[in-house]
Symmetry: D2
Subunit: 416 residues, 4 copies
């Protein structure tokens, strides 16, 4: 029995699908301790948008550390934090005509979501939050309450209240009309449904199965929120930071979210950061209302500042869009090769999902992928969707090779 | 208006007490961007036990990064994680005859507490958790529910249920007898109080005002938990990692906690890690029951492994004990110099609190400390206690100088 | 200021619409203390199905009292209770091939609903109950949680949890298809919606606006409940006891409810009784699991036993059906006379509603009805529906006269 | 198998201890259908304060019915209700210099408690209610939440929140000092305990084991409530209506409760009534905020008005005090006869409890009482206390005989 089996809790999961002991990593490739190479189409669950050991970020971190930079600072001011804030304003907010206040929370996605819900409740004086079927927002009780997955919810052992569950687009109809039912209940004081503090939505539900919401539906949802005095919150934790071919997943959709949750990729190097964007008039926090020890992660500020350089011109995002189209094309070919199985490709940019509509088949494909040494993830209800989200910086050659391996894994999985 | 005021959320707090922009830091000293030096008696809220930019840890991180080590790995196996686990077993668990499984959670204290409560509820099938007056456990809804501070609780905007609130030792009597009331209610099926899933306790309530629980009381509490089938959980997030002069704050007390929450100092360098220790027979998690994107922080594994070297022999802990005694002595002198004010010193090891019994006086001392350039924190109800918890590695000379500054701040604060 | 204004709480409501002081009553007529006559189309909110001072019931109560019968007996056995149970079995259950256990709860509808929900939760081990838009089930916290009206809910001052709110038939589509959305979410473990302990439904939502559910929808709902191991509960408190022209509102619909809630008319004389019918295999109560001081109301057993005589043959129910058709016809004429207003008539048997689609118009009609001295009630969202539910025993002549008065009130109300 | 076993739910309880089928009853005696006589020391759980078939009340009800009086009227005005209100003012409120508004709720104790808690929450804007160990307040979810009995609570199958549980006097110390702990936590914003909407207390916990609170403690509790802006609510449902030798159980104690809950005896004849007394300035209900079908029970108004005649002079209450002293004396003799068992007598007026400190012995005494044909009840944790509360109108001779039977039952029970 190895040390992990002997000493690590039974809760460990991904390592069961990929039991290798990883030692080195560079951009989209990882090697185990025996030097065996894997292609990484998972990117640490959407964190490593700029690849493993991104050279520019690594050097910036090392330089900062060697210069005795402050590593950990709670919410004290540091020069590293100031640089991050200034660059975020200059490179991200200003060119998009956006105005947001920045709140650095505890450096995990679930902490950002907790802060967002707390603020929405404080601002509106309401307790319920509307969330969607198959939504995923985190594991701490506040974020778990808005998460759809029954298994995760049941483990909590307590009642998870204060949530109004609504169908995501495509769940029970598509388009603006699929919001009619909720609109009617909010207008009706005897419906048993009260106006929520917020609508919390992902533009693409990554963990939920790579379900994509359309522009019209999102606009209608935002309008509904405003109509009923609720905040419109986009959880852009997995889809933001360039993943869709735009910095924000929602920036080409005519949306104006009240709060935006960022984490994962915003820290740049796999170094964690939690960042809540707040429309200035909603920044109704009193000092210290919501705290957290690790909210001043300066290595993340340094690496995150460096990462923002990718957005100084359009080249990077164009390359993401191109690679995304290539991924989609290749996945569609895979689907075409297995017509009888009625697979389906969904996604935006470099977040692409292959819906097998079958947890059993998906499980076989996952096992084959492990043998093929391409790291992917299973998502959606009971893991029926294979999710591919490589580092955005992946070289075209590696991307092609990874897709070859994935294609082989699908072929192997479906014929078992 | 500076960039922080213009763009950072109003929620920021500590930076209002110490408005400098910090640039460099080394061991127990920090310098702002103008080169002004501060002595750090706060250690990033108890995180920086081994000082800012600890040389050994810094070098280890840099070496690891330069060798293309895997930075971020969810719960995949890595060589860095294996090293950490092995060293934790060899240096910490084995010499203390302890057996625990290790669960790496999202890398903040609140995430560890959420995991602990979830597991306690799963194992017992009960929903309520017993927590204590003035307890502090985090800001996400599950951890916030067990936290005592009314301000933090009210901001949540939802009902925080499933908690049984009990008096901490010294709150309404001391010693074993102060548990009589809860023992009686648990024995009585008409008391309206049901047996909880767990008793969650800090051995010293740091945020709660540096309130110290005694060995007998803690033993009686543990016995009570076992008697009623509840888990005994120690939140050692701020007091563990050597702070008291022992690795665990509870190790010299004849205790045998079921779960131990570690965070803050366990990551070594200000790099975050969340670690839940689980008695093997209670490791009843199913794979994937509780997840979190950033639970595989390899820079923290590297720095944390290096930090464990401090515990390979007794020298370090002895020095902590000595410096702790020195701090206590100096603080007692301060109290003696202001007899009429009835200040009180409480603490263990290098976590020492000066209870002014007056939020107003404490506020003045805090303002004076900022002027004196010694970084301390206010804790306890309405901030009436001045908390001093320097890096454990602080040089004796710096410690003395910091205490001089603190003494000056007290003198200045009380005469305003 | 009269004694009511001076000493009765401001909470009083109906007496503001009909401020008379009532003194006498007989069948469907009431007289105030000045001898002014009102026709009663309200029947005490559906309680007085057999009229005020029903002669047979009155005599039975007087005889019982004069013979020193036991009035109040908790759940001790009495001869009066035995008679009621035997007659309920012989006259109601056996001819309909129904098998139910009888639980006498505290003698109000809300107490019956609380018992039903408690039993459903005990039997299934689940906490959530599915209830419908515009449903009304009572004012105590358990029953209020499943009630739709926002005003009533908000007054509670606490979070009302453990409810899954679904659209009633006609709310967002009709027929079996309108249950597709809930069926889909229950089948999907990531929907965020877990299988409930029960589906609680009224066949006609009386307080909710006289909304009528169809046979096919109710059958599909029952099938859905069985499919997901949830209990199917019919709240027949206002529609049972002959109101629809059948003893149970659901008996001609091929339904087989697990639990049936009865109150209001079951006590016969305005004397209160709460009765929960339980399918024998679901009678999983332990002795004393649910109690209540007034669950042995023997005057109600005596009057209720007498009332059951109306069901010994078909004559009574046929007369109810005929009078119901007459009411519907007359109301349809009223609607036809005001075509531009698009009023709508809905109902079954002698529960008929005139939906004005306008709270403002309905309010004027209510005021006119008070002047015309016909007692009706406003129901539905913001009171937009005028509800007519006279005693089932009303003489045809009085019924006609009451409808004349109601017609006059509508004419007056809509021309103001 | 008899009809009760065959058709009544398994939930039935008291009838298992006294399996007779009762047919007749007069004052404090009941006869089963075979003419076997029982002496009633239970009074329908404290309802029948004026005896079974009280002649004056019976005649008043019959006269009212025969004159076509309105039986059921929701909250419409009736002459019967006016008479009750006027007599309650003249006979009860005015002589005691009390000013209260009257709210008639659904006619069960639990409905009154639900109304009281709802109003307290509305007035204060707070959600939590403080209630006491061993308190009993009802079976609907709002009242059940404040009830202490674990068995009843667990059956609910949902989380019962919004309650702060405190030790009743004698539970963990006596006198004013036993409130120190709660006073300290309310003063401390970090205690985790927030100021409640109300303190809800019984002056004698009848179901809870006949636990008696003292005047000083109750006064201190009332003062604490006022100090923290919480309502002081006395649940006088079982102890009011003359039971203690005063109309209200608290009227000789210098108390001034904000809300008083009445039910049980207030309806006079076993006819149910729920009555909440509200200090005028707290009558902040909006019309219709809290409703209930059976809140206009005119037979109860009639019988209740008649019952108030007992309070027109002191004779009745003096006789209750005398009989209460006699009961206490006799029970003390019983205790003296079994010294080794350390039984204890507790109570006030004609509510007396014999605490055996042993559920097993109490069970044997209950079985012997059934054989002796004296009806008593078991109360307190696991039924360890025998409760004697005969009709207040019991003749001295019957009282003596009943005590003889109870003494015989104790003798028989303890020697088994």
């Amino acid at each position: 029995m190895n040390v992990f089996e002997r000493l690590e809790s039974n809760v460990r999961a991904y390592c069961r699908a990929y039991p290798a002991v990883f030692d080195k990593a560079s951009n989209a490739r990882q090697w185990d301790e025996n030097g065996v190479e894997f292609i990484d189409f998972f990117a640490g669950a959407g964190v490593l948008n700029y690849g493993h050991n991104n050279e520019r970020q690594r050097q910036a971190i090392i330089d900062y550390m060697q210069a005795d930079g402050v590593t950990h600072s709670l919410d004290l001011h540091t020069t590293a934090k100031r640089t991050f804030i200034e660059r975020f304003e200059d490179i991200i907010l200003k060119p998009r005509n956006l105005e947001y206040k920045l709140q650095f929370t505890g450096p995990t996605g679930t902490n950002v979501v907790e802060a967002a819900l707390k603020l929405a409740r404080k601002v509106t004086g309401r307790s319920t939050v509307a969330a969607f079927t198959n939504g995923f927002h985190g594991m701490t009780l506040g974020a778990l309450a808005v998460t759809g997955n029954a298994h995760y919810r049941n483990v909590s052992g307590v009642a998870l209240n204060d949530v109004l569950r609504l169908p995501f687009e495509g769940y029970a109809g598509t388009g603006v009309g699929s919001l009619d039912m909720i609109r009617q209940t909010l207008a009706d004081s005897s419906s048993g449904v009260e106006a929520p503090a917020a609508f919390l939505v992902e533009t693409v539900q990554a963990e939920g199965g790579v379900n994509v919401a359309g522009k019209e539906w999102l606009q209608a949802l935002q309008a509904l929120a405003k109509e009923y005095g609720a905040l419109f919150i986009i959880d852009d934790i997995q889809l933001g930071n360039g993943r869709t071919g735009h910095f924000f997943s929602w920036e080409d959709m005519g949306l104006d979210p009240d709060l935006v949750c960022l984490a994962k990729g915003i820290g740049g190097f796999g170094t964690p950061m939690g960042l809540l964007l707040i429309r200035p008039e909603l920044d109704q926090w009193s000092p210290g209302d919501h705290t957290g020890t690790f909210r001043g992660q300066n290595l993340s500020f340094v690496a995150g500042s460096e990462a923002l350089a990718y957005y100084e011109n359009d080249d990077f995002l164009k390359s993401v869009q191109e690679k995304g189209r290539y991924m989609e094309e290749r996945l569609n070919n895979i689907v075409a090769n297995h017509k009888k199985l009625n697979f389906e490709v969904r996604g935006r940019g470099m977040m692409q999902g292959l819906d097998t509509h079958s947890p059993a088949i998906a499980k076989k494909i996952m096992a084959a992928a492990a043998k093929q040494r391409v790291i992917v993830g299973a998502c959606g209800t009971d893991g029926r969707v294979i999710k591919a989200c490589p580092p955005l910086t992946i070289e075209q050659e590696t991307l092609e090779r990874g897709l070859d391996l994935l294609e082989a894994a699908v072929n192997e999985g479906v014929t078992q």
